[in-house]
Subunit: 336 residues, 2 copies
């Protein structure tokens, strides 16, 4: 018998759910928030978090092996990445999206096979309800969702605040703003801008609290509305982040057309998503996010930069380009 | 503001559960078994598997991006690795372990945080029962478990069949043999050997069926017994694969001592596991497998090669060495 192939890639993918849960438990326990205050050994950390002795070393060392913690001698500390993104005390915390993955999506993905067989979502809208109607009907669920969207958008929002040529513009509006993650990052990095967050009316108190916590309520306001029923706000730049992927192709085109209609000549639309690479073979996160749309929405799906540029041309934009923001998220910019 | 760190490592770990479920659904649908018969385009594959059009491309292309499939033009095919290990029609199929991950462990790991807080397992033995008593009491559960152990052991068993100096020995016994994965691989590669599989009496029919399917029932027999209550079989070489990690430290030492007592002078014991690296910072699979022992057993845990060599010395072995078998599994060999 010849030498059999290694089973390493299969095993790594198959063990992925355990790795995710180890990270989610660390977030759940506030472990990274605790270590952001200073390094600790296993026993002190275990006591602070109220954990059992049995598996504490394996748990912490799994986080080390996964690159989520460092260990020097017997003392654990955050990595630069986990300290920046997973300390709840920092405004750059993005753990909320993973808290939602843990409590909502991990169990929902348990029935992925049913989703792939039927084409139907596998969350609380299995019965046919719209996801956002369901989420927005319950204040606790809405709070969890809006916060998770901040975690989902923050790395992209920070990148857009730096990479887009904001100096050419005076006003912007974020369509489907949730708490206002993007408006905050853009306004903080560009003091000459005036911005709005556009979302359903019940989002207002969450938005206003979040904006006020950064002291920029004089430059960033809430604009209530339903992006299918109402006109979009007029501004030099409109932004749609992780919005289009929730909807079917007709709805995507409708939203792009409404953005085109609302913009002045020379105005820009920024769309950002976990864009799937044009060859549909590299960006794992984009393809998995599209399957997340199967699990979570009636007809949503993710798409490539080429797809988006094509739809933008169809609704009237003459110019568009794609630019990478993070390892897995890119923006598509169109000019009217 | 300076350039923020990338969030790529955190995101990759957090998306791991989705990647696992995509692979598990592919196994569930028999997708790799279907493609082992020949490459197919998305539409033909979708029809064969009875899947819905909505997410078929994203599902298949996620498998491509994860390295589980290849796509040439519009036609999908297995990789060398997935063709060898995930085609149910081949004797080298290891998908049974992932079928068990999918139906048992994915939901059980949902309560990892409870396990880490309490030190208690999170499966059907939450109430205090022993795992193997629970599994062996139900024939369907036993069959699933025994088959999954074949998937779990096969890559290691094939490596041991080649790498261990079998030419120096005449007989071997696999302690906790399940269906007999290791005895089959060792006997096929070493026609001079006579072997036994030692396991609880109700395993016999599953073992004998599996052995007979390879036509080696004249050289490999079943030896019923309980490794805590009975003596271990006498043989030149004893093997314990993925066995010691199920038990606490006293039980581990007891099993090693019983192996020492059963071996002749010059006999060898082979232990194989997802050994944790001695520094406890590299072998993610070993550390996650140890957390699997938290989820699945009362007091089990995984360990390092140095740990195992130490316990072997304590029970009387004078010589031992560690050798890597696959990317994540190693064997410890001790000589009496």
């Amino acid at each position: 018998m010849g030498i059999p192939p290694g089973a390493g890639r299969v095993e790594q993918v198959a063990f992925g759910f355990m790795a995710s849960k180890v990270l989610f438990s660390a977030i759940d326990f506030g472990l990274l928030t605790q270590l952001a205050k200073g390094p600790l050994d296993a026993e002190k950390l275990r006591n602070r978090l109220g954990l059992h002795p049995r598996s504490i070393r394996d748990f912490l060392d799994a986080l080390v092996a996964l690159g989520m913690l460092e260990r020097h001698g017997e003392v654990y500390s955050n990595t630069e990445e986990t300290d920046f993104y997973l300390d709840r005390a920092k405004p750059t915390y993005i753990g909320n999206i993973f808290e939602m993955f843990n409590v909502r999506d991990y169990p929902f993905w348990g029935s992925l096979s049913d989703g792939l067989r039927t084409g139907n979502p596998q969350n609380e809208i299995k019965g046919g309800e719209d996801l956002f109607t369901a989420i927005y009907a319950n204040l606790d669920r809405l709070r969890l969702f809006l916060r998770s969207m901040t975690g989902h958008s923050l790395p992209s929002a920070m990148a857009i605040a730096q990479k887009f040529p904001w100096s050419k513009y005076r006003t912007f509006a974020d369509i489907g703003s949730a708490e206002g993650c993007l408006p905050v990052q853009v306004a903080l990095a560009n003091p000459h801008l005036i911005g709005e967050g556009f979302d359903l009316p019940m989002v207002r108190p969450f938005f206003e609290e979040y904006i006020a916590s950064f002291g920029i309520q004089d430059r960033v306001r809430f604009h209530p509305g339903d992006f299918f029923k109402d006109s979009l706000p007029g501004a030099d730049v409109l932004v749609m982040g992780m919005i289009l992927h929730n909807w079917n192709l007709d709805e995507k085109r409708t939203l792009l057309k409404k953005a085109y209609d609302a913009l002045p000549d020379g105005g820009s639309l920024i769309v950002y998503e976990h864009l799937i690479d044009d060859e549909h073979r590299k960006n794992v996160a984009g393809l998995l996010m599209s399957l997340m749309m199967l699990i979570e929405t009636q007809e949503g799906f993710d798409y490539t930069g080429a797809d988006c540029c094509g739809w933008m041309r169809e609704v009237g934009f003459t110019e568009s380009y794609v630019e990478q923001l993070t390892g897995t998220v890119s923006m598509v910019v169109a000019v009217k």
